[in-house]
């Protein structure tokens, strides 16, 4: 596990990379987003020193929100040690000098790509999501002028038609990630491509949830203790799904698992997507069916 104490920020950059004018613009957008839960606030997204699709929206939200006292955690699909997470963490170590951690409970600000940590978040923590397509209605209606109007009029029938067509075709709602939610009974919102398994964690969370879409230039938010409901039908209630297996390394059940192909003969194992949660359980003595022979999380091999 890697945790790093605060360091001196690179003096060639302003604190947290962005200039103060840009931060003021993003901060104003963030405050509006919190005041209107689930509503997409346009903002003048800047070019960042990483390509679109690598979390430029999340990085700008994090940069505008970080204080020198923060402890930052960055995850990509639940993992602290994948390319996207490592590069963003190093970026903020360099330009903001903040402390970093992999432990969910120690972090004050967590930037995430496509997962919510398994460890329950607490009061005072901030979760920043990287969002590719912020508009939940975009694939149903390509025109921004129209989707704006649909949100204004609370006209979400089209979304229910889409879910109904899922049922007509597959017998159940087949959407398994980026599953649309309604925030505080008003705005339909894209939760970013988190698995629908994570949707229930968004509702009435003690933590503040911020969403940044860099290419699409939108910021939105869910304040703490806010109701977030996954769209469904009375006769087809929302089902978060989840694996039947236990984690092969730490034997955890009721968590989100990744399928790992281990040989050319169709062999596979299921391991926790949340690497911090998995390591914590292994350290606490939990042993999975395949541990420790093939341990990908830095546990002794």
């Amino acid at each position: 596990m890697t945790a790093a104490a605060p360091t001196r920020a690179d003096p060639d950059y302003n604190f947290a990379y962005l200039d103060e004018q840009t931060k003021r613009m993003i901060r104003r957008a963030l405050l509006k987003a919190v005041a209107i839960p689930g509503y997409q606030v346009p903002f003048a997204s800047r070019e960042m020193p990483m390509p679109y699709g690598w979390g430029t929206g999340g990085v700008q939200v994090t940069a505008a929100t970080l204080t020198p006292e923060d402890t930052l955690k960055v995850i990509d699909q639940g993992a602290d040690d994948t390319t996207n997470a490592v590069s963003i963490r190093k970026f903020f170590q360099r330009v903001a000098g903040v402390a970093t951690t992999e432990a969910t409970a120690e972090a004050t600000l967590i930037q995430t790509r496509h997962r919510i940590p398994e460890t329950p978040l607490t009061e005072g923590q901030i979760l920043v999501y990287q969002v590719p397509i912020p508009e939940p209605l975009r694939y149903l209606e390509p025109r921004e002028t129209e989707t704006r109007k649909m949100h204004a009029l609370e006209e979400y029938g089209l979304m229910h038609v889409k879910l109904y067509e899922d049922i007509a075709r597959h017998g159940h709602i087949a959407t398994s990630y980026a599953y649309p939610v309604k925030v505080e009974g008003r705005y339909v919102m894209d939760p970013s491509p988190i698995p629908k398994f994570d949707n229930p964690k968004m509702s009435n969370s003690p933590a503040l949830q911020l969403f940044g879409a860099g290419r699409e230039q939108r910021i939105y938010a869910i304040p703490p203790w806010t109701e977030v409901v996954s769209l469904d039908f009375e006769d087809h209630p929302f089902d978060p799904g989840g694996a039947r297996e236990a984690c092969a390394l730490c034997d955890a059940r009721g968590v989100y698992l990744d399928e790992v192909i281990v040989d050319d003969a169709g062999g596979r194992m299921f391991v926790c997507s949340d690497t911090d949660h998995c390591r914590g359980r292994i350290e606490a003595g939990h042993v999975g069916a395949s541990a420790p022979a093939a341990a990908p999380h830095g546990a002794p091999a």
Partner: protein
């Protein structure tokens, strides 16, 4: 140099990036947890602008944000201070203002003219920065997003006026006006989603 010109040059953040980030976190915490009081320091604006309102201005106000100042703040040291440090257009009409600073009574006098946004863009509204003496005395009970159950906020003798400032928000939502309340070094917020009643 006039008497208040020298005063206008002083009192901004000593280390702008760090102090603005802390002041913003105070504002973000206030907005996401209505009813809580946050410390927003680092600014020393001239009276009658509370230090917390000064920190908020230094953190959020710039040349892109037209500001409406209540009559009691105009043409004095506060206007000079904001002009020097924020470089903001300070004589905005209430309809065009991104931020409005003033006492509860002077904001209430112009309330209907402040922007509430449009149905498509409810974020294009005026944020009211309400200047108070203290957070003590008569309380209001708050419910809504960001609040677990109910919260209480002491508003004192300004309670009726602040309730009146926030009252239209309930019917206007998602349009409406967000309120920051500032007294001395402390900040609270009443986003448009918060419902208030006297207790």
């Amino acid at each position: 140099m006039t008497a208040f010109a020298a005063e206008a040059l002083d009192g901004a953040f000593a280390d702008a990036p760090a102090e603005a980030s802390r002041a913003f976190r105070a504002a973000l915490d206030a907005m996401s947890r209505p009813g809580t009081l946050q410390h927003a320091g680092g600014a020393r604006p001239p009276a009658p602008l509370p230090p917390a309102a000064g920190a908020l201005a230094l953190t959020l106000v710039d040349a892109e944000t037209p500001v409406w100042l209540a009559p009691e703040l105009r043409a004095g040291p506060v206007e000079a201070w904001l002009r020097f440090h924020c470089n903001a257009p300070l004589n905005a009409a209430p309809e065009a203002a991104a931020f409005a600073f003033g006492s509860p009574a002077s904001l209430l006098a112009e309330l209907d003219r402040f922007a509430i946004g449009t149905p498509e863009y409810p974020d294009r509204s005026t944020t009211l920065v309400v200047l108070l003496d203290a957070f003590e005395g008569a309380e209001a009970e708050l419910t809504g997003p960001g609040i677990r159950g109910t919260a209480r906020l002491a508003l004192g003798s300004s309670r009726a006026e602040i309730l009146a400032l926030a009252a239209p928000n309930r019917a206007l939502f998602p349009q409406g006006r967000d309120l920051f309340l500032a007294a001395e070094g402390r900040l609270a917020a009443l986003p448009r989603s918060t419902r208030l009643r006297e207790v």
